[in-house]
């Protein structure tokens, strides 16, 4: 499987993966399937994907396989159902790290169209888990805030997906975040190399984030950061006098939004660029995700990282 230029912009926009549409689907599994299947079918339809899955081998059809993968020419020749197996469908350990600190509960757009960050992150995590499972990867999930909240060890069984979705459903952002402690603890438990995907809003000092992720990198894992932010966090479109309350610390700040905007955006940019830079030095992939953007962008980011691991 070759991962050439990773340009998700070349893919035509599809409403199918629009988060606001997905937000109306309450079933996480269905969302994940919808996102992934749509993504994959889009990959197949696009001639210049810049990204392809090369055919590796056939295997006999098993109940539960996607019927679209049946090679009908083979069936015509053999009267047996065979599905195509693609390159990349090798068994890899995928560790999904989901930040469920209090700040992840933020969402600027009202229901039902708006998604909170935790909801969006959950969709991403579910989609990635589903996608990884389809590729016969072992996927596990860890939710954390200032400690590990819940952990699902990596498995590749089909039923394992339910455990992951169940944990995602229960994710309830409440406490404050702290990266180092939980991630350090997690890094000690990972024995086999794989892919570590951190899904978080990264509200922590840059050094703390990088240091925590470097632990995984040093063990030979491929690390990707999906930096999830709300559009309001990215643009800070408040105006006039505002009184903001930190969702984790409950600290309040009364300020003139118009006067504070410039400073805020500067600091945010500095933070994300520094993380990106530091991560780049460490070979950690970084992608900024707005909760208003379609989820396939997240999948693209994952796939890019996935390619490198091969």
């Amino acid at each position: 499987m070759h991962a050439s230029v990773f340009t998700p912009q070349t893919r035509s926009k599809t409403r199918f993966l629009d988060p606001s549409v997905l937000a109306k689907i309450r079933n996480l599994e269905l969302i994940a399937r919808t996102v992934v299947d749509g993504f994959i079918s889009g990959l197949h339809r696009s001639p210049n994907l810049g990204f392809s899955l090369d055919f590796a081998e056939y295997r006999q059809y098993m109940p539960g396989d996607d019927v679209r993968r049946i090679d009908w020419k083979v069936y015509a020749r053999s009267d047996r159902f065979y599905v195509k197996e693609y390159e990349g469908e090798t068994n890899t350990y995928v560790h999904l790290l989901l930040d469920i600190s209090g700040s992840m509960a933020y969402g600027s757009r009202p229901k039902p169209d708006g998604l909170t960050k935790i909801e969006y992150a959950s969709y991403v995590a579910a989609s990635l888990a589903y996608f990884a499972q389809r590729q016969k990867d072992s996927v596990g999930l860890v939710t954390f805030d200032n400690r590990i909240v819940e952990r699902v060890p990596p498995r590749c069984r089909r039923a394992h997906m339910n455990s992951i979705l169940h944990v995602l459903d229960r994710a309830n952002p409440s406490d404050h975040s702290e990266f180092h402690k939980p991630l350090e603890a997690l890094a000690k438990t990972i024995r086999r190399r794989g892919i570590v995907v951190l899904i978080s809003d990264l509200y922590a000092p840059t050094e703390e984030v990088v240091k925590s992720l470097s632990l995984f990198r040093f063990k030979g894992n491929d690390v990707a950061i999906l930096h999830v932010l709300d559009p309001q966090e990215i643009e800070f479109n408040f105006s006039g006098g505002v009184r903001l309350e930190d969702m984790e610390t409950k600290r309040e700040a009364v300020l003139s939004a118009d006067e504070a905007r410039a400073n805020y955006l500067r600091l945010l940019k500095e933070h994300s660029e520094r993380i990106k830079k530091e991560c780049g030095v460490l070979g950690i992939d970084y992608a900024l995700l707005s909760t208003s953007r379609p989820l396939d962008y997240a999948l693209y980011s994952y796939l890019y990282t996935r390619q490198k691991s091969m």
């Binding site: 700040s103 992840m104 509960a105 933020y106 960050k117 809003d201 509200y203 709300d230 966090e233 408040f238 105006s239 006039g240 006098g241 505002v242 009184r243 903001l244 309350e245 930190d246 969702m247 984790e248 610390t249 600290r251 309040e252 700040a253 009364v254 300020l255 003139s256 118009d258 006067e259 504070a260 400073n263 805020y264 600091l267 945010l268 933070h271």
Partner: protein, 722 residues
């Protein structure tokens, strides 16, 4: 706005006047609730500063406190400006005004006051009028803003000088502008007007302040019968001393023609009166030249007749003045004026039987009427006697004809008399033994004011008496009540029963309601019918002293007598034709030709003022009020005319009356109190006048609009800088 007075005496502490704001439309003050609007908007906008949960304040640095404080101050400033603008508009719509509240006065009801200021002739004495004005100003000073006040200047007329709620300053100015008149005094007119003015006001307390020298002569019979509501308080303000000032006056001028050796001469006699012993010269001027001087010596309270030597009558109008050279309290009445116009004397034609009466000798049936109307010194008119049988061919030189007991009446005479009367002449018909009732009815059917029925002897007792006289008629005005008794006690043995014609007026009646003197207007003239005789054959009236003046007044009325040289008085309103005979003819011609004929005539007053008269004014009211003593001169169609106007001699008597006694003689009537006056509320028109004077609302609206404009500009500026 409230003046808080510190006062050592608690009883009076609350009696200090305070100035406060009141409102013409207080209900609009409910609009102050609209102030909630900007406050609500302000609070709504403040919701943007409500607590907003945000993921993390990691990248939030606090705004400098100074800018936040500045932001808050900006919002508060705009809120204050909007709130103030709303408040100003609400106040403006409520129409505020400032009023002064006098607590002491608040306990009492508001007053309506009439200030009567005497400006009659007697007030010219010394500085009486100035003192009266000062007293009037003092009275005004006792009034409050809430009181209403009428200023009335009075003499023999009363004139209201102001609107009821005029400001005090303006009232004082009006008082200062009052000028003395030459008119006599009549308290009754002034008090009647005052009573009428006060009856139209709602205030409970009503006062009349009478400021005068309280001249006795101003209190006449009509004054004695005056009635004023008992709630009206009359406050006299006496100006002058309790005793009469020293005054002498020329009360009357008598003119007589004398003819000696074919030359007409005029003899002038002046009556002089004085309330003090007097010795002073009296001069006679004619046409500005002194032609005679005499000295008069008088005891106090006496009169004297000063006779001047006759002077030759010159051609044209002669203007004469008799002046008493006396330094007394009222110099204005020391002169009397007269005019001698050779062409102006009126003539009476006496038509009577040429034959002698039933008794020979000196007596004839028309003896008494001839004697009564005989020409002589002091005769008001010329008299020409002619026989009925022959009669004159031309009646135009005469102003009136007296047809006394005619027997045979020539037919042409009746026609001439009819034409004469229709053209403005006067006709007096007296009956007697010679009169043929039937013939008179036939010949003068269109003229006689009554249809003659038959001759009658007196009543059952053989005598009839006069039972009714029209005292106010011009014929009887000169007679005092004592004189009227002479009429009422005169026996009438014979008279002609008559039935008054439609449109006629019965001036005297005998018992049983039978007309004795009847009048009728015929065309431009008038006819008077006397149903008894002007002789003692039928009644004893010729034997009474009233007979001569009765005959004179009868004739003067018939001929529309234009008076002696000094018979016009200041205060009279005379028809303009009295000033110049051509006025009437000119007006007749103007009315005949329509509006094409317009001409302004002028009357020169004694003071030199030219009083303009025009055709329109004369058409509606052809009268002129005589305000000054002296000569009024006119020229119409090249006919010059001068009339002399003199002061009323009664006004020269400066004897004062006791004001209290005078006022006590006024009848007081009970009047139902107006309950609305008890509410103590300021009259709406008074408040309205006060509010109009101040016009605070305009300033409030202007301030509110200015504030809103400033607020808009400021808000836009803040928005641009954010």
């Amino acid at each position: 706005m409230f003046q808080v007075a510190s006062c050592s005496q608690p009883a009076t502490c609350n009696l200090q006047p305070v100035t406060f704001m009141s409102f013409f439309n207080p209900l609009f003050l409910l609009g102050v609730l609209a102030v909630a609007g900007p406050i609500i908007v302000h609070l709504y906008r403040r919701q943007e500063a409500r607590k907003i949960p945000f993921s993390s304040l990691l990248f939030i640095t606090h705004s400098p406190s100074r800018s936040w404080r500045r932001l808050r101050l900006r919002n508060l400033l705009l809120l204050a400006m909007r709130t103030l603008a709303v408040l100003l508009l609400v106040l403006a719509f409520a129409r505020p005004y400032f009023a002064t509240h006098d607590p002491a006065a608040a306990t009492s009801a508001r007053k309506s006051v009439v200030v009567l200021l005497d400006n009659s002739l007697s007030m010219r004495s010394g500085d009486r009028l100035n003192r009266a004005k000062t007293e009037a100003v003092n009275v005004l000073g006792t009034l409050r803003d809430s009181d209403s006040c009428f200023l009335v200047a009075f003499s023999d007329t009363a004139a209201v000088l102001n609107q009821p709620h005029t400001e005090r300053k303006a009232l004082i100015s009006v008082v200062q502008d009052v000028r003395p008149s030459f008119r006599r005094t009549d308290f009754a007119q002034a008090l009647k007007l005052s009573s009428q003015l006060l009856s139209a006001t709602p205030n409970e307390i009503q006062e009349i302040h009478l400021i005068s020298d309280f001249q006795q002569s101003g209190w006449n019979q009509e004054s004695a019968g005056l009635a004023i509501p008992e709630k009206v308080k009359v406050v006299p303000h006496r100006i002058g001393d309790e005793r009469a000032g020293d005054n002498a006056s020329v009360t009357r001028v008598e003119i007589a023609e004398t003819g000696e050796r074919g030359q007409t001469a005029i003899k002038v006699a002046a009556r002089v009166a004085s309330n003090q012993k007097l010795s002073a010269p009296v001069t006679l001027k004619v046409n500005g030249k002194v032609i005679g001087e005499k000295r008069v010596e008088l005891e106090a309270g006496h009169t004297a007749l000063v006779e001047f030597a006759p002077w030759a009558l010159a051609a044209g109008i002669s203007r004469g003045t008799v002046t008493l050279q006396s330094n007394d309290a009222l110099p204005d009445d020391n002169s009397a004026y007269f005019v001698v116009n050779p062409l102006a004397r009126q003539k009476l034609l006496l038509l009577t039987e040429a034959q002698a009466g039933r008794r020979s000798g000196a007596y004839t049936e028309d003896l008494y009427i001839r004697k009564a109307l005989a020409p002589g010194p002091g005769a008001p008119f010329d008299i020409v006697t002619e026989a009925v049988e022959t009669g004159p061919t031309d009646l135009s030189p005469y102003s009136a004809v007296l047809l006394n007991d005619p027997g045979v009446i020539p037919a042409r005479l009746a026609e001439k008399l009819a034409t004469f009367v229709n053209n403005g002449g006067g006709l007096i018909v007296g009956v007697g033994d010679r009169s043929d009732v039937k013939a008179l009815n036939e010949k003068f059917s269109s003229l006689l004011p009554a249809r003659l029925v038959r001759k009658r002897q007196g009543s059952a007792s053989g005598l009839s008496l006069i039972t009714n006289i029209q005292k106010q008629h011009n014929v009887f005005r000169v007679f005092q009540p004592v004189h009227q008794s002479y009429f009422l006690t005169t026996p009438f043995r014979t008279y002609v029963e008559a039935t008054p014609a439609p449109g006629s007026s019965v001036l005297m009646e005998l018992d049983q309601g039978l007309p004795l003197l009847v009048e009728k207007v015929v065309g431009k003239g008038r006819v008077l019918l006397y149903t008894s005789a002007f002789s003692t054959d039928w009644n004893d009236l010729p034997l009474k002293s009233v007979f001569l003046p009765f005959c004179h007044e009868l004739v003067k009325y018939a001929m529309r007598f234009e008076g002696d040289g000094d018979s016009l008085r200041v205060g009279e309103s005379v028809p303009v034709s009295r000033l110049n005979p051509n006025f009437e003819k000119a007006l007749e011609k103007a009315s005949g030709t329509g509006s094409a004929f317009r001409q302004d005539w002028k009357v020169s007053s004694p003071g030199g003022q030219a009083i303009a008269l025009n055709e329109q004014e004369l058409g509606s009211s052809p009268f002129l009020a005589l305000e000054e003593p002296g000569f009024y001169e006119t020229q119409v169609w090249n006919l010059d005319s001068v009339v002399a106007v003199n002061l009323d001699p009664a006004e020269s008597d400066l004897t004062p009356a006791d004001p209290q006694q005078m006022l006590q003689s006024i009848e007081r009537t009970a009047v139902r109190l107006d309950t609305t006056a008890q509410t103590g509320q300021v009259a709406p028109e008074q408040r309205a006048a006060r509010e109009r004077r101040q016009s605070l609302w305009w300033y409030l609206v202007a301030a509110a609009l200015g504030l809103l404009v400033l607020e808009g500009k400021l808000a836009n500026h803040y928005r641009a800088t954010e």
